[in-house]
C-alpha cells in the first residue's frame, strides 16, 4: 500500500493487507482514466473522423471512398501558394524573433537597475489575446488613419505607397512584422531563462584564459545555451506553421491571396465552401509538418527528463 516501486514492501503488504493493495494498484489507472477518455474523445476521435472524411468524396448517402482529395492537393495552385506563404512567414518571423530575442536576453542577463521592470514590460505583447494584437495593429497600420502613417506624414514623408496590410506587396511582410512584435518576447524569455541557468565557472575560466567578450559568447555561452535555443526554436516553429488568428483579423488572407497561409486556406475551404473532405486532407499535410517538428521537441524533452 505504501509504495508501488518497492517489491520488497509490496510482498510484505500482501501478507498483511491484501485487499488494500489490490485497490491501490488499480488506483493510478482510475486516476488517469478520465483524462485519457477526454483526450481520446476530443483529440484522437476527431483525428480518425478527419481521416475518414478526407478519404471520402460527396456526403451523406452519396459518399464514396476515394483518394481524390489527396490527389487534388498536388495540383491545387492555391494550396501550394498557401504552403509557400506559410514557409516564408515561418522562416522570416523565426529568424528575426530569434536574433532580437537573443539580443534582448543578453542585454538583460547581467544585473541592471530596473531589470524586472524592463522584463515585465517586454513580455506584454506575448500575453495579449491574438485577436487584440490584430486590433492593435489594424489601428497602427491603417493607411489613412493609422498611427504609423500619421506619424510619417507628420515628419513629411509621403505615405501614398505605404498601405501595409492593404498592399499586395507589403501585406505579407506586414503580418510577419506583427508576428515578430508579438513573439520576440517569447524567445527573449526562454533564452533569458537559459542564460541565467548557465553556471558562473565556465565564464571565470574564459576570463582567466583571456578570451574576448565575443569569444566567450561564441565558445562558452552559445554551446551552453543550446538546449534552451532548441526548445525555443521548436516551439516557435510549431506555432508559426499553424498561424491563423492575427492574420485572420489583420487581412483575412488578403489582399487577394497574398497573406493566405495553410490554416487560413483550410478554414476557408471548410467553413466558406463547406468542402470538409478536402479541408481535412489539407490539414493532414499541416499535421505532418508540425509533427516533424514536435517529434524533435518531444525527443529533446525525453532526453532532459532522463538526464
Amino acid at each position: 500500500m505504501i509504495q508501488q516501486t518497492s517489491p520488497r514492501r509490496q510482498k510484505g503488504e500482501q501478507s498483511e493487507a491484501p485487499p488494500s493493495r489490490r485497490r491501490d494498484t488499480s488506483l493510478p489507472y482510475l486516476l488517469i482514466a478520465p483524462t485519457i477518455a477526454v483526450l481520446v474523445g476530443l483529440s484522437i476521435y476527431p483525428l480518425i473522423y478527419a481521416v475518414k472524411i478526407s478519404l471520402q468524396t460527396g456526403s451523406g448517402e452519396a459518399a464514396r471512398w476515394s483518394l481524390a482529395n489527396f490527389a487534388r492537393l498536388a495540383t491545387d495552385s492555391f494550396f501550394l501558394e498557401a504552403l509557400a506563404h506559410t514557409f516564408i512567414y515561418a522562416a522570416g518571423a523565426l529568424t528575426f524573433e530569434f536574433l532580437l530575442g537573443l539580443g534582448l536576453a543578453v542585454l538583460l542577463d547581467r544585473p541592471l537597475r530596473g531589470r524586472t521592470l524592463f522584463r515585465s514590460a517586454l513580455l506584454i505583447p506575448m500575453m495579449l489575446p491574438p485577436v487584440v494584437v490584430g486590433v492593435v495593429w489594424r489601428l497602427m497600420l491603417n493607411p489613412d488613419f493609422g498611427a504609423i502613417n500619421g506619424t510619417l506624414r507628420g515628419a513629411g514623408i509621403a505615405t501614398d505607397s505605404l498601405t501595409w496590410t492593404a498592399s499586395p506587396s507589403l501585406a505579407l511582410a506586414s503580418v510577419i512584422a506583427v508576428d515578430i512584435w508579438q513573439w520576440t518576447p517569447f524567445m527573449f524569455l526562454v533564452l533569458l531563462a537559459g542564460l541565467q541557468a548557465i553556471p558562473q565557472e565556465p565564464y571565470e575560466a574564459a576570463v582567466i584564459d583571456g578570451s574576448s567578450a565575443w569569444q566567450t559568447f561564441r565558445h562558452v555561452t552559445l554551446p551552453l545555451l543550446k538546449p534552451a535555443i532548441l526548445i525555443a526554436l521548436l516551439l516557435r516553429t510549431m506555432d508559426l506553421l499553424r498561424v491563423f488568428d492575427q492574420i485572420f483579423i489583420l487581412t483575412e488572407g488578403g489582399p487577394g491571396f497574398s497573406t493566405e497561409t495553410v490554416s487560413l486556406y483550410i478554414y476557408r475551404t471548410a467553413f466558406r465552401f463547406s468542402d470538409f473532405g478536402y479541408a481535412a486532407a489539407m490539414s493532414f499535410v499541416l499535421l505532418v509538418l508540425t509533427n516533424i517538428v514536435s517529434v524533435g521537441y518531444i525527443r529533446l524533452l525525453q532526453k532532459q527528463e532522463t538526464a
Binding site: 500500500m1 505504501i2 486516476l31 488517469i32 483524462t35 485519457i36 477526454v38 483526450l39 476530443l42 483529440s43 484522437i44 476521435y45 476527431p46 483525428l47 473522423y49 478527419a50 472524411i53 539580443g103 542585454l107 538583460l108 541592471l112 524592463f118 515585465s120 514590460a121 517586454l122 513580455l123 505583447p125 506575448m126 495579449l128 489575446p129 491574438p130 485577436v131 487584440v132 486590433v135 492593435v136 489594424r138 497602427m140 488613419f145 498611427a147 500619421g150 506619424t151 506624414r153 512584435w181 518576447p185 524569455l189 526562454v190 510549431m238 506553421l241 499553424r242 491563423f244 483579423i249 495553410v262 490554416s263 471548410a270 470538409f276 499541416l286 499535421l287 518531444i298 524533452l301 525525453q302
Partner: protein, 295 residues
C-alpha cells in the same frame, strides 16, 4: 619620470576603459528603452483610441497625449451592443473549463507521478498526453465542428467548455506532474502510516503543498481559454454563445469599422490577461515550454 609617464598612460587607459563601459551602459539602456517603447506604444495607442471621440481618433497628425477622454465607446460596446454578453460568455467558459481541466488533470498527474505502472506505461502515457497538445487547432477544428453539429451542440457554451477542457488537459497534467515530482514521497507516506488513505493524503497533505503550482496552472488555463480564437470562431456564431474574441473579430471584419467600440472591447479583453500574466511571472518559462498562453 619614466614610471610617472607610465602611470599617467595607465590612468588614461583606465579612464578610457571606464568611459567606454559607461558608454556601453548607456547604449544598453537606450536599446532597452527602444525595445520597451516598441512593445508598449501600439498597445497604448489602442487604449487612447478607446478613450477618444471620433474627432480625436482621426486627427492628423495623430494625437498621442492631448485629447478629451470619453467613456462613450465602452458604454456603446458593453451596454448598447452585445459585448457585455460576449464578456459574460468568455468568463463562464474560461472558469468552467479551467475547473474541469484542473480537476481531471491533477488527478491524472498524481497517478502518473507517484506510481510506476506496468511496461513503463506512466512515461509513455505522459508523452502521449503531451503529444495531443501538439496538433494544430485547425486540424481538429474541422472534425470538431462536424461532431458538434451532429450532437446539436453548435452555438452552445457547453461545446466550448468541453473543447477547452480537452485543450487544457495535457498542459495541466504536465505542469502538475512537475510540481508533484518536486515533493518528497515521504510526506504522503507519513500521512498514510498515520492511517490516511492514498486519496486522503493527496487532499490533506499533498495538495496544500502544491497550492502555488495549482494556482499558477489555473491561471495559465484561464489565459488559454480566454485567448482562444479559432475553435470559438468555428463553434459559435450567435450573440448568445460567442466569446469576446469572436465578437471582436466579427466587428473588425465588417465593412464599416467602429474604431472606438473595437478598441474598447480590445482593452477589456486585454486587462484580465495582463493581471494574470503578472501573477504567474515566476512560472512563465515552465508554462510556456509546455505550450501555455497559446492554444
Amino acid at each position: 619620470m619614466r614610471e610617472g609617464h607610465n602611470r599617467r598612460e595607465y590612468a588614461a587607459k583606465i579612464g578610457r576603459g571606464a568611459a567606454r563601459s559607461r558608454m556601453a551602459r548607456w547604449l544598453k539602456y537606450v536599446l532597452l528603452a527602444l525595445a520597451v517603447l516598441t512593445a508598449v506604444t501600439p498597445v497604448y495607442w489602442m487604449v487612447t483610441i478607446s478613450l477618444k471621440s471620433e474627432v480625436d481618433q482621426f486627427a492628423a497628425p495623430p494625437r498621442w497625449f492631448k485629447f478629451a477622454p470619453t467613456l462613450a465607446h465602452y458604454y456603446d460596446a458593453f451596454y448598447t451592443r452585445a459585448f457585455g454578453q460576449y464578456l459574460l460568455t468568455s468568463v463562464t467558459v474560461a472558469i468552467l473549463s479551467t475547473i474541469f481541466a484542473l480537476t481531471l488533470g491533477t488527478l491524472a498527474a498524481y497517478g502518473l507521478s507517484r506510481f510506476r505502472l506496468r511496461a513503463n506505461l506512466d512515461r509513455r502515457l505522459s508523452m502521449w498526453i503531451l503529444s495531443t497538445r501538439m496538433f494544430p487547432p485547425i486540424v481538429t477544428a474541422v472534425p470538431l465542428f462536424l461532431m458538434m453539429r451532429d450532437l446539436r451542440l453548435l452555438n452552445t457554451i457547453s461545446s466550448l467548455v468541453i473543447v477547452y477542457t480537452a485543450l487544457n488537459l495535457p498542459f495541466v497534467v504536465w505542469m502538475m506532474r512537475g510540481f508533484f515530482r518536486e515533493l518528497p514521497r515521504e510526506l504522503e507516506e507519513a500521512a498514510m502510516v498515520d492511517g490516511d488513505s492514498r486519496l486522503g493524503a493527496l487532499v490533506r497533505v499533498v495538495l496544500p503543498l502544491v497550492t502555488p503550482g495549482l494556482a499558477a496552472t489555473a491561471v495559465f488555463c484561464l489565459i488559454v481559454s480566454w485567448n482562444e480564437f479559432l475553435l470559438a470562431l468555428v463553434l459559435t456564431q450567435t450573440d448568445a454563445s460567442m466569446t469576446l474574441p469572436v465578437g471582436i473579430a466579427g466587428r473588425v471584419t465588417q465593412y464599416e469599422i467602429k474604431w472606438g467600440v473595437m478598441s474598447a472591447a480590445g482593452v477589456v479583453a486585454m486587462i484580465p490577461i495582463l493581471v494574470f500574466a503578472m501573477a504567474v511571472q515566476r512560472y512563465l518559462v515552465r508554462g510556456l515550454s509546455l505550450g501555455a498562453v497559446k492554444g
